[in-house]
Subunit: 442 residues, 3 copies
């Protein structure tokens, strides 16, 4: 514990929270997909705030069982009715076009057009979000109410897209710590105008990386901004040899709404990151959801595949797939808020604080209690009815600092926040009553 | 998984269920005890349907701490009142005579007679079932209402029985599988006219054995029809050297009523048979009772004695000893039904399906997920809100097929029926994404 | 089990319970502190009933991180008002003086006096109990109601105490058993006129020690009467080499009130003493509280410090610090009762009975059940609906007596009282069906 405390309580000012929101809002209009200029523009915006290594991986590159796909770009798209009116227009919402739609320009009757239209009958005013990455296809998404009112006439459809050999693009930022052991923080950058999913996560991680500049840490922190699934797979394929350095990790997505918080544990189930996040949530005063791992979701699917089995969990507010706004045009900038981003930030940083500062200490006077009173560490007048939490933290650390319990272990056993236990250990170390084994835990 | 699925979902037609009931009804009138012609006749009826090795073990044979008793047979028995009327008649119900009653013919006053009468004061219309195997004794059982109306007169009692050196008789049927490892399925054949206890179990197992003829199985299946306690003890004593082949087992009794289902775990508590039965019950849609082992009950007492500690549980519908019909004349053919027998059959076979088909598979592409889409194993259009159970089963198998989880382990972790996981593994194997380690589990 | 049962059911007669109460009452008026003549007088009273080795440890002796303090004695103390009336008088209650108060004689105005007064505003009629062992200080304790009515005048205070080099005094009684392995029973003797805390514990242990004279036991029993904290620390420092002999232990305090019972587990959490006490409580018919270890309380803090980690729990009725009488003048002789002491005695002795008599037995006929009937150990007439607890105990012992389960293990698994299992094992041993492995457990 010779190093200064790294993260503390995860404090974030109102201004910072507004800045995170503003950055999410800046990213929101960009038409992202798993490849293409939307990803590049997003990474350029991130790169304006933090050092970012941008990687371009050519189409056709084999990555495990997958192949980097052709690059998709889109300039314009619309459906015109027989009067030449644009009734669906990509310029108004990039959700209108199924991602990875082939280029198309044709006239077709309503019956034919309908085969290419996607709607949400139960949410008739919303545009759904649809993709067709690995099937040659094209399509439009629109509100069901509009769909139902379509006249039986001839429509002109245009999708001015290109699907050609190019690159898959992702960006990395590395905060170097004292050791090469890494904490992986990963956010997907492939969804178009969906504010919570995942402009929120990208903005939060960018802010965290910027704020950590100059901070002395035990771990190195790797921030990964990559398209979902194929991006994580590509990164893992290109970094297979160094994946063993990842000691802890979080996938960050959907952190701007007021739901949850929701934590989905890593495949290991009780990795230190799992314990750190759940401990932080338990003492946060928020209700929260603590979910076991399941093999569906975001890029934790790849990090937790059995050949890697990395200790990477998923931090969210609302759980994906469970809220009406999910993957619809209702996931817009009104759905996320600076206050929600601030709480998400505090909780994530609170968990990283545990990871970063957890230590194994040993009691230097393990036989009987040391005399706290003569060191001014205890009530001078005994016999009081109630011991206080601070006293209890000192006693818990002394009692469990036997070389087999880390500070997090002690905090869990004592049902006290890590922060309280950490400060107690610091105070005891100052008085020579415990010493740091200086060993990483787990 | 190169072999065809053995049991499937335990389907049983209405005709089959009726056939099981009819066979139980055929066995019902026979006066069985732990030895004698009633057992022989029962085994003859079983032997008419399946190959059965019938063993005759002489009285006096030492079997562990016990000795095979003398053989008991009975031809007639009655109590006549002073007017010569048969007021209790063995010909009307074989429950009227205490099993193993010594031969007797005498005249006695009511007071003396009463010392030999057994009734159920709280169920005054029912005849109790009583035995006196190891004490020289005789007695009659009758409804308490009749007992209370007995006049103070002289009665003639006759029990035309014999208790002489002879044999203990039991039968075995072996279904040979690919390995010598055995599944033991055991039913007691010593109770007289009690339909549920255990004509039901005997009929169900006979039907199962008949239906398995010609079926290719991994395990060999040993069907044991033996008198309770002394029969199981005798079988264990004569098969001590090969008991190690028994990898799983079930005692089957009281499977014809509408209660439960009730499963009592083996002494081991979480043997694979315990997990397979409880898994099957959990996904059956029935309410059920999952009970820890206790050292009282049917022949699992012997199989689970500490010197054997076999993984043998007890499958029942109602739990023995807990229902008013238990060990009374109310356990008759009206108390059991073909529909109940059918459900019992399905659940037992469902559990055997798990035992027989559980396997350890390994993911051949364990790093990241394989691309299910290009194999047609996944939705071509992504972004749908809800993943389906079938998709989830594929993902669970891929994620946990790491060599340390069997399909049952995966099914339990995924909270999905074994059948769904099994089919997912089959599909993945077909596509080369998992392979069978071909090793027995546990 | 060749030895006679040691403790049995912890029977205590009404006369014995009254004797325990009377002895607590005799100790009550003595002004004890962590050193001084009050402790000596208390030990003299104990020594009048049992053999007691009294140890005197000089002031200044280093004991681990502590130093044996100067000896404190007090003869008189009062506060006089300006009319010379003793408004607070040590002679009326020794709680009036803060323990370890320096000698003082001075006149001071109310404002100055108040800095040395301690009250309980929320319990305005009670005198609090306060100490100031390791800070040079003096003070008085009084009812808040009296404090509020103090006039603004000049007061004379006198504390005729001495705080000089002397000794710390403690007493030990050893009951020698067949082995040197010890059970430690420890009660603090440092509190002045507090009846429950801990005249009750001292009286109970003294009675137990007296009653055990001549009793043949497996374990040796060490009774320790020492001042809290510094006394236990001193004892541990002087007995460090033999601490390993302590196999089980209990701190006994506050055992005379009607609350609880409360058991606080040892740091190990499931040491045999923990299991024995909780088992006894579970089958006692009392509601009770089973608490995890926490590093605050009585001398279990020292015994359970990480350098010792002894299997020592804390047995109480009400939990310290949770009742309004705690550390006040309301903890008087009316607060404790002979009936409560009797129940505490029975529960403690019940747990010691488990510790003393727990054994590992092995079934001599482990394959199948032995034939209990021919040994008269079972119902001669079978088929009864309900097995009785006694039968079940026999069956549980036979089933689990496989060399890996002690009688306590069996009692816990069977949910039957240790006593019932013990008697079943005795009966089976008599019939040669189990034999004692003669090995200590745990």
């Amino acid at each position: 514990m010779e190093r200064e405390r790294t993260f503390g309580e995860g404090f974030v000012t109102d201004d910072e929270a507004e800045a995170i929101y503003a950055f999410a809002a800046k990213l929101y209009p960009i038409c992202r997909s798993i490849t293409g200029n939307g990803v590049r523009e997003t990474l350029r915006e991130i790169g304006a705030l933090i050092d970012l290594d941008v990687h371009e991986v050519p189409s056709g590159t084999p990555v495990f069982d997958w192949t980097v796909p052709r690059e998709w770009n889109i300039r314009d798209a619309y459906i015109k009715n027989s009067r030449g009116e644009k009734i669906v227009d990509f310029a108004r919402s990039n959700l209108h076009v199924v991602s990875y739609s082939m280029p198309v320009r044709q006239f077709l009757p309503l019956a034919e057009l309908k085969k290419h239209l996607h709607t949400l009958p139960e949410q008739p005013d919303l545009i759904p979000y649809r993709t067709s990455y690995y099937a040659d296809n094209w399509g439009f998404c629109l509100p069901h109410r509009q769909f139902e009112n379509l006249q039986d006439e001839t429509y002109e459809v245009l999708i001015d897209s290109s699907l050609e050999d190019g690159f898959l693009t992702y960006g990395e930022h590395l905060h170097r710590g004292e050791t090469e052991d890494e904490v992986l923080l990963s956010a997907h950058v492939c969804h178009p105008s969906l504010a919570n999913d995942n402009c929120s996560g990208v903005a939060l991680l960018t802010h965290l990386a910027a704020r950590m500049v100059g901070l002395r840490t035990r771990y190195s922190y790797r921030f990964l901004f990559a398209p979902g699934t194929i991006g994580a797979i590509t990164w893992l394929a290109h970094n297979e040899a160094r994946v063993g350095l990842i000691k802890h990790g979080l996938v960050i997505s959907m952190v701007g709404d007021g739901g949850g918080p929701t934590y989905k544990r890593s495949r290991r189930g009780s990795a230190q990151i799992d314990r750190a996040v759940v401990h932080t949530l338990r003492h946060s005063g928020s209700t929260y959801s603590d979910e076991d791992f399941f093999p569906y979701g975001y890029d934790e699917r790849q990090y937790c595949s059995p050949g890697f089995d990395l200790p990477v969990g998923l931090f969210q507010r609302s759980k994906f797939g469970t809220i009406p706004e999910y993957h619809t045009s209702a996931d817009n900038l009104a759905f996320i808020g600076a206050d929600h981003l601030a709480l998400s930030y505090r909780l994530i940083v609170g968990a990283l604080d545990v990871i970063e500062n957890d230590r194994v200490c040993v009691n230097t006077m393990p036989r009987c209690e040391p005399q706290l009173g003569r060191r001014g560490l205890y009530h001078a007048i005994g016999g009081l009815k109630h011991a206080e939490a601070a006293n209890m933290a000192l006693l818990w650390v002394l009692n469990l600092a036997d070389g087999s319990h880390s500070l997090l272990d002690i905090a869990e056993r004592a049902s006290l926040p890590f922060d309280v236990i950490y400060r107690a250990a610091q105070l005891l170390e100052l008085h020579g009553l415990v010493k740091d084994l200086n060993a990483s835990v787990r």
